[in-house]
């Protein structure tokens, strides 16, 4: 049982690092524009498909393929902002939310269309092989790189939000008109936010993709499904806290893996059920989220 528990925790941390990357993008968009971005995971899958095309189909050097994948994700983020979010900027949040869901479905449709010939695809790892085997769980170099990237990203975001650009994002979200009056271009800030969020999604895609085979909708509902866990992580972090989203991702990953213990007989959906129960309890006890201080009434 101890071994099994150890395996679940170790696997959970590494699965959680992908959820955290997705959650960071969700929180970033929510903080900047108040939009629940259902296309966040599809930025990742699109990036993964593009990286696959670069590395496997066009035989580009791996780093170039990876850059191409990330560029594709960012391009999708910018296109979403320009073609969906900006035109709908005065609409209700529900409309915007449905808009992002539409983007996700459109991306999945295109992926299906493009992957008819070979629906199950395999992206090579950055570094092949297993680095560690704690409790017998296989920790690949790819896992370690993903975790390392998450840490770097978290630090970079922390620095970024203290920079003028980071402050501009928060200012634009809090009062767009006032921000414009002090010389902040809300339009540019919005595009920058979506580009960064898409980059985070792209990183989740290109880093997690090689751990499994992938199909259309890989990060939304496929083998690497990270959208719902990403949203859960964001909610655990109170939808506004970047460190909360990061820790939330790791917690969600571990809780989900606990659902796959043989104790539960490999029950189908055991992980998801554990997660929903956990989230329910957290929301009942700490509705503001796990990793944020309780809001003080003004």
């Amino acid at each position: 049982m101890t071994t099994e528990l150890g395996i679940a925790v170790v696997n959970g941390i590494f699965a959680g690092s992908v959820y955290a990357l997705v959650a960071l993008g969700i929180v970033l968009i929510y903080r900047a524009s108040g939009v629940f971005n259902f296309a966040q995971a599809e930025f990742g899958t699109t990036g993964l498909f593009a990286a696959y095309a670069g590395v496997v189909l066009w035989n580009l050097p791996y780093w170039l393929g990876l850059l191409f994948g990330l560029a594709a994700a960012v391009a999708m983020g910018l296109a979403t902002e320009r073609l969906v979010i900006n035109p709908l900027r005065n609409s209700s949040r529900v409309t915007l939310l449905v808009g992002t869901a539409g983007v996700a479905l459109a991306a999945i449709g295109i992926q299906f269309w493009q992957s008819n010939e070979q629906p199950i695809r395999e992206m090579p790892k950055i570094v092949e092989g297993v680095a560690l085997q704690p409790f017998g769980a296989a920790i690949t170099w790819q896992h370690l790189i993903t975790l390392g990237v998450l840490i770097v990203v978290a630090l970079a975001l922390a620095v970024f939000f203290r920079s003028p650009s980071g402050v501009a994002i928060q200012a634009a979200q809090q009062d767009g008109t006032a921000a414009e009056l002090v010389g902040i271009s809300v339009r540019r800030v919005s595009m920058m936010t979506w580009a960064i969020a898409a980059l985070l999604g792209g990183l989740a895609g290109v880093l997690s993709g090689p751990n499994l085979t992938f199909t259309a909708g890989h990060l939304t509902f496929g083998a690497g499904a990270a959208l719902l866990p990403g949203f859960m992580a964001a909610v655990l972090g109170g939808m506004r806290s970047m460190p909360g989203a990061l820790l939330g991702g790791i917690v969600v990953g571990v809780i989900e893996q606990l659902g796959s213990l043989s104790l539960f007989g490999y029950m189908s959906g055991g992980g998801e059920m554990m997660l929903f129960f956990f989230l329910l309890i957290v929301l009942l006890l700490r509705p503001q989220g796990l990793f944020v201080r309780k809001a003080v009434a003004a």
Binding site: G217, T220, Y266
Partner: protein, 485 residues
């Protein structure tokens, strides 16, 4: 309080959107094709006077009156099975026996009497319309193009030779999305809107189960490769009046799998993992018992795994590697198998029953961990098909503008060829009754692709399986043994 309400609303909204996204997943528009001679108006041709009535429910009501007006088919029903419950105008033919598991010997349609025309839905003087469903989208993730290319190859071939008893075969294909509910819906469309003569189930045990039970409820003959035999609460597929399994069921393959294990892993530890679909409950029990009897304590674990393995893959892989087993008997979805193998740090031999795990697309995704995996299959692989049936490859290339054939092409070729032989046996005055009577006559159908099939004793007509082995050097399966019994 406001914060709490907002969070609650947020979660509700997120859940609703998540379901919306999930519902929208897996959609590939336009996966509905017709092959064979076109230009025929659907649902208008060849329908016998009076639509087929509902068949007698199992063990509940007697079969309806037999056909009238023309010769009824002698011996159309086997003991214990109900006759097609068609009601028609005209004189009265023989009365069918009551159906169901508790029924006695079912009566045949009036032998040689002035019976009515059999149920000729989907049959005209010139054509026979058949439906095929298979998963092109969803968790199975088989290539859409493969099915599009594969379906209708044999129909086109046989049509070019004059068809079956002078009738050309039309094949309608539907994507069941690896979803039992959708499978039922597409089969309903095939039966009621497109008015096909019969339906072929391409792959996916739950989808085949769902469609077979629906087809039985409307009296449409249904043929698939062997899957599970029974489903909790719904009973055995063998009790369905219109269902026929053209290869060994999973339960029937269990002894073959055990023999494969004992012949190669004597004294070694072996594990058993079966997806937790309730349709596999019986197979799991049968296979576990068979292995326990053969290898005793060397059966290290016997477990159920999720139907769609995603985040669980690393844990399952770690358990396999930590257990020290040298082989795992696997029965689950192909994508689940691939995901588990991708997370494994050790090498074990996977082996098992069924058709889909032996497809080359699984070898492509699961290698190198899947090297030497052995799976039973009702059809051979590309290395053998040209020796067994030289017509396959030219016909495939002819229909598909010179494209290289794949193993899904072989599977569909075999299925259509088998059905064509059966339609031929149904005679010139083809009806659903004559077709099923031909199947149950004890005649052996050997199409040189599938192992011989005989429904004389049971609706599970398979007699053997081909044995495939994965070659990760070439990333494909090859045919290791033919007709393993």
């Amino acid at each position: 309080m406001r914060m709490r309400n907002r969070m609650t609303r947020t979660v509700a909204l997120l859940s609703a959107l998540a379901f919306m996204l999930a519902a929208g997943c897996g959609l590939k528009p336009g996966v509905a094709q017709m092959y064979g001679p076109g230009g025929t108006g659907y649902g208008q041709q060849g329908v016998a006077p009076g639509q087929p009535g509902l068949p007698g429910e199992q063990g509940m009501q007697p079969g309806a009156l037999g056909g009238t007006g023309q010769d009824a088919v002698p011996g159309a029903t086997a003991p214990g099975q109900s006759q097609a419950g068609a009601t028609r105008t005209g004189g009265t033919g023989g009365t069918a026996g009551s159906g169901g598991p508790t029924s006695g010997p079912g009566g045949a349609g009036g032998p040689g009497g002035p019976g009515g025309p059999g149920d000729t839905t989907g049959v005209t003087d010139k054509t026979i319309k058949i439906g095929v469903h298979a998963p092109v989208t969803g968790a199975a993730a088989f290539p859409q193009k493969s099915f599009e290319r594969a379906v209708g190859v044999y129909a086109s071939y046989i049509n070019s030779k004059g068809g079956v008893n002078g009738r050309k075969i039309e094949v309608l294909f539907r994507d069941d999305k690896f979803d039992p509910n959708h499978a039922r819906a597409v089969c309903k469309d095939l039966a009621e809107q497109q008015k096909v003569f019969m339906i072929i189930g391409g792959a996916g045990s739950d989808q085949i189960d769902s469609c077979a039970r629906y087809a039985n409820s409307v009296g449409v003959p249904y043929i698939s490769a062997g899957v599970h035999e029974t489903r909790p609460g719904l009973g055995s597929l063998a009790k369905l009046r219109t269902y026929y399994a053209s290869s060994l069921t999973y339960e029937q393959q269990a002894p073959l799998v055990t023999r494969l294990v004992t012949s190669q892993f004597e004294g070694k530890k072996v594990g058993l993992m079966v997806a937790d679909n309730d349709s596999l409950d019986n197979y799991f029990a049968v296979q576990q018992e068979s292995l326990e009897r053969a290898i005793g304590d060397n059966l290290e674990f016997a477990e159920r795994v999720p139907k769609n393995i995603q985040s669980e893959a690393p844990s399952i892989a770690a358990e396999i590697c930590n257990s020290g087993v040298e082989a795992v008997v696997w029965m689950g979805s192909p994508s689940g198998l691939i995901n588990v193998t991708k997370s494994m740090t050790c090498t074990v031999r996977f082996l098992g029953a069924g058709n889909t795990n032996g497809l080359n697309i699984v070898a492509e995704g699961g290698c190198p961990q899947l090297d030497n995996a052995q799976f039973f299959s009702s059809f051979p692989q590309l290395d053998k098909i040209n020796q067994m049936d030289p017509n396959f490859e030219p016909a495939y290339r002819k229909k598909n503008n010179g494209e290289d054939p794949d193993d899904i092409g072989i599977a569909m070729w075999g299925a259509e060829k088998l059905v064509s032989m059966m339609l031929d046996a149904g005679g010139k005055d083809l009806s659903r009754q004559s077709f099923m009577a031909a199947l149950e006559s004890g005649k052996t159908f050997d199409n040189n692709v599938y192992p011989p099939v005989n429904f004389g004793k049971s609706r599970f007509g398979g007699t053997a399986m081909h044995q495939l082995r994965a070659d990760c050097g070439q990333r494909q399966f090859f045919t290791e043994r033919l007709n393993v019994r």
